[in-house]
């Protein structure tokens, strides 16, 4: 493939990713919803969309996206007749969109052609997108440091500037015994970890690393070298990292060294935003939301947002204090019948005795189950 082709591939892939992310959002969300997901916005609305519509692989796929980048893609999608604008429903409708038959066909075709099913497979859990970056930073700096140690050349400039990552690596290679373990075992563990992956993914991971004998390449440079597109390599790269994280979490014994990379030592519950984690600590002590709001000096609606976040991410939490099983069943039935996750429509169906909080909790829990 020459470079003209890789430019074309880049464009096609961007459209394909965007459109596939937008498919389940059609007629329910605005044109911007998928942009927030791909960019990895941390707002509750976005996080809930990711859950409700099962869009885990897309979350934070392109953190560097600008609004202009997105508008360009959307314009192309409209030009190619893949999308149609559409008026929303309900009392205060927001404009939404529909995916045309053409668009559906293009999305499915590209999904097949570029092997999305393979590259998206490890993204079954919510927290992976957030963990990928810190995992890669730790791994990158750790490999660089151990490589320099092995090459007996410690006058190097670290590729990762983030202080917390540097601190973590320092803790790993500081104590002599641990350092020796890393020096002796890192290469072998990496080999076993990555051996099952596709060769192109292996190469992509190794070529980006730096050490005593090589300076890592950027994704852009590798795309050029491989005459591929940066977007495609991004898919493969994220796949490789997510698969690594999953395996290390599941097989801690088999990877005594590398599994340290996936330990989350944050004292607050790492699955939650800091604020929600503080709320959760109080929830676990049996304190009611009104009192939590008073204690933490936040609005009660904020605490309700936290409860939804907890319901989404902490399967062990029992929401019975806020949501009886009957109410829950009624909400689920309404959602089924209406074929929607839109709160307003469900609320109109189930009536005024059911609160928005209850509907949100019920929907969050449904997602949790479908992932089991």
């Amino acid at each position: 493939m020459n470079s003209q082709n890789s430019v074309a591939e880049e464009r096609e892939l961007l459209c394909a990713v965007a459109l596939n992310a937008m498919l389940p959002l059609a007629n329910e969300r605005t044109l911007q919803a998928a942009y927030y997901i791909l960019r990895g916005r941390k707002a509750n609305q976005t996080l809930q969309d990711v859950h409700l519509y099962n869009l885990y692989p897309y979350y934070r796929m392109f953190p560097g996206f600008s609004k202009e980048d997105w508008d360009k893609i959307v314009a192309t999608l409209f030009q190619n007749d893949y999308l149609q604008p559409c008026e929303g429903e309900g009392p205060s409708p927001k404009p939404t969109f529909l995916v045309t038959a053409n668009g559906r066909q293009f999305a499915e075709h590209a999904y097949e052609k570029y092997g999305f099913a393979v590259w998206f497979a490890p993204f079954t859990r919510f927290d992976l997108a957030a963990r990928i970056e810190s995992f890669w930073q730790r791994l990158h700096l750790l490999v660089q440091t151990v490589s320099q140690l092995l090459g007996k050349d410690l006058g190097f400039v670290p590729v990762v500037m983030d202080k917390s990552v540097q601190q973590w690596v320092k803790e790993q290679v500081g104590p002599a015994r641990l350092r020796e373990a890393w020096e002796a075992g890192l290469s072998e563990e990496l080999f076993r970890l990555w051996e099952p992956l596709q060769p192109q993914v292996q190469e992509l991971l190794v070529a980006q690393l730096s050490g005593v004998s090589q300076v890592g390449k950027t994704l852009g440079q590798l795309a050029k070298q491989k005459q591929s597109s940066k977007v495609y390599l991004t898919l493969l790269f994220r796949y490789g990292l997510a698969a690594s994280i999953l395996r290390l979490s599941e097989e801690k014994q088999a990877f005594p060294l590398l599994s340290r990379l996936v330990v989350q030592e944050n004292k607050l519950d790492p699955r939650l935003s800091d604020s929600a984690a503080r709320t959760y600590a109080l929830v676990q002590r049996g304190i009611h939301k009104a009192e939590i709001a008073a204690q933490r000096q936040v609005k009660e609606s904020t605490v309700e947002d936290h409860l939804v976040e907890i319901a989404l991410r902490c399967p062990e939490w029992d929401a019975a204090d806020y949501l009886s099983s009957e109410t829950r069943a009624a909400i689920m039935a309404a959602s089924e019948q209406l074929q929607t996750s839109r709160l307003r429509l469900i609320k109109d169906r189930v009536g005024p005795t059911v609160s928005y909080l209850q509907i949100r909790l019920a929907l969050a829990r449904r997602q949790e189950e479908s992932n089991e």
Binding site: S147, L150, V157, M161, K163, E195, Q202, G211, V215
Partner: protein, 502 residues
């Protein structure tokens, strides 16, 4: 040379000898004098405060305006020079900053790099007082002068800060200061004339070239030809990120050399990889915005091409100052067109507020200081402009408080006069830059005179006005190619390479 200095110089910096000017600055600093040091870019300014930091009790504070530079220097001090150093700036998290402050207060730190705004925080000053500041170094000291090309309002608070910290001796260093700027620095910090140490700013090994271009395609072709022909490593400076990206993509399609781009919009790991590849000789040329180059320790850069006209002679001389720090001959090419001047003029007009904008800002400020991003967006004002206006508004209000009139005068007019003064300075810088490219006399003489330098010596060629042969800077060798991509990928082999057996 003093024995102890020599030993420290050798042990921490790996030099047997001082470079010109270093010793006389250090001697004065260690005698407790406040000093202004002028040294050419690449002349070894940092040693003049790093070495005294080791010899003096207490802590040396280094005020530095650029966060990336700060991080680089501290990194190098710790790893290469084994000097306990730290930095404080706005990018750090609270916990990290606390840790640094504890280290300072307990005396575990010899050098602290700090941004001027961080230095204003009372708890930082307290920690520093406890550690006792024995030297207050100001890097890029020209930033304090309203005559400087790089004026930073934050720097204006530094003389007060020095007093707060118990009047330690001040070492102001810069590579680009006109006579007016020098005088201003000396009066602000009470530096005696005899303690101004000036090293020659003349760069004898650099040859200066100029070319006017008609349009974009001519500009690009000329640049690509130069990249193909000149002996590297080299840097091409562009005015915008977009220009960098377009130029890199175009060159990579047809050019012969290994070239990549660098600008502030790339993520930090990418920037670090590109920079390291350049230092390691895997890239011949970096095409970059002015974000690239500060604190880069690469002595063998053979040329710098300016794809567009820089905004000032100060910026220009700083950027070409990265050529040939090893003393070997190097080549500086400046491309310009009439459009460049118009573009700078346009950006200049946009950078400074109109009276109407100041009026709007003051209303927001009065409503509840200082305005948040949303409020700023509502009046379509950049954060940079808001920061500038905040400074002048605070100052105007402060003046109003001490004055005896009970009614506060309308500050808009005062503030506007201040910003117009700033704008006029930049306008003048642009005019100086313009006159440099339009001159028909010796470029070296023109540039050096601007900085009050009379030494005009050169090693190979002087400049295109005096006559130079560009071929003498051409060369064939290109960067060492990484081992050709192997036909069959082998994970085991690749890992053995990356992580060699002990």
């Amino acid at each position: 040379m003093n024995n102890e200095w020599q030993q420290q110089l050798q042990q921490h910096f790996g030099y047997g000898e001082f470079r010109p000017g270093q010793e006389s600055i250090i001697k004065r600093v260690l005698a407790g004098k406040s000093v202004l040091g002028l040294m050419a870019t690449g002349g070894g300014k940092s040693v003049t405060y790093q070495l005294p930091a080791l010899l003096l009790p207490g802590i040396t504070v280094v005020v530095s305006p650029l966060i990336s530079l700060m991080v680089d220097q501290v990194q190098q001090l710790r790893t290469k020079r084994k000097i306990p150093a730290a930095y404080l700036n706005s990018t750090q998290e609270a916990a990290e900053a606390r840790e640094v402050l504890q280290k300072i207060a307990s005396g575990q730190c010899k050098l602290l790099y700090i941004s001027p705004e961080k230095l204003q925080q009372p708890y930082v000053q307290q920690a520093l007082k406890r550690a006792t500041v024995s030297l207050f170094a100001i890097d890029e000291a020209h930033c304090i002068s309203a005559w400087g090309h790089d004026f930073r309002t934050d720097y204006l608070r530094l003389p007060d800060t020095v007093k707060q910290l118990g009047n330690p001796p001040v070492l102001a260093v810069t590579a680009t200061a006109t006579t007016a700027v020098r005088e201003e620095i000396c009066s602000l910090f009470g530096i005696d004339r005899e303690n101004v140490v000036v090293q020659t700013l003349n760069r004898a090994n650099i040859a200066y070239d100029l070319a006017e271009v008609g349009g974009e395609s001519e500009r690009r072709q000329l640049t690509f030809d130069l990249i193909d022909q000149l002996a590297g490593p080299g840097i091409v400076y562009c005015s915008t990120r977009q220009a960098v990206e377009v130029l890199v993509a175009a060159y990579q399609l047809e050019g012969k050399r290994h070239v990549d781009g660098y600008h502030g919009g790339m993520n930090s790991m990418e920037r670090m990889l590109i920079q390291t590849q350049f230092l390691a000789g895997e890239l011949d040329v970096i095409i970059a915005t002015n974000a690239f180059g500060m604190g880069i320790d690469k002595p063998d850069i053979r040329y710098v091409i300016h794809y567009q006209l820089p905004a000032s002679l100060e910026a220009y001389s700083q950027e070409i100052g990265r050529i040939g720090r090893d003393g070997q001959p190097g080549y500086a090419m400046l491309l310009y067109s009439q459009d460049d001047i118009h573009l700078h003029q346009y950006m200049l007009d946009k950078e400074y507020p109109t009276p109407a904008q100041i009026q709007q800002f003051c209303q927001l400020y009065g409503a509840g200081a200082p305005p948040d991003p949303k409020a700023l967006a509502s009046i379509d004002m950049s954060e940079e402009m808001a920061a500038m206006l905040t400074f002048y508004t605070e100052r105007a209000l402060g003046k109003a408080q001490v004055s005896t009139t009970t009614e506060m005068a309308n500050p808009v007019q005062d503030i506007w006069q201040e910003t117009e003064k700033r704008k006029a300075v930049k306008q003048k810088k642009l005019a100086e830059m313009r006159s440099y490219v339009l001159t028909d006399r010796c470029l070296r003489k023109h540039l050096n005179q601007y900085f009050g330098e009379s030494d005009l010596g050169f090693t190979r060629f002087c400049c295109s006005r005096c006559g130079l042969q560009r071929e003498s800077y051409e060369g064939r060798q290109t960067a060492l190619l990484q081992r050709e991509v192997q036909n069959s990928w082998n994970l085991r082999q690749a890992l053995d390479m990356l992580l060699p057996k002990k």
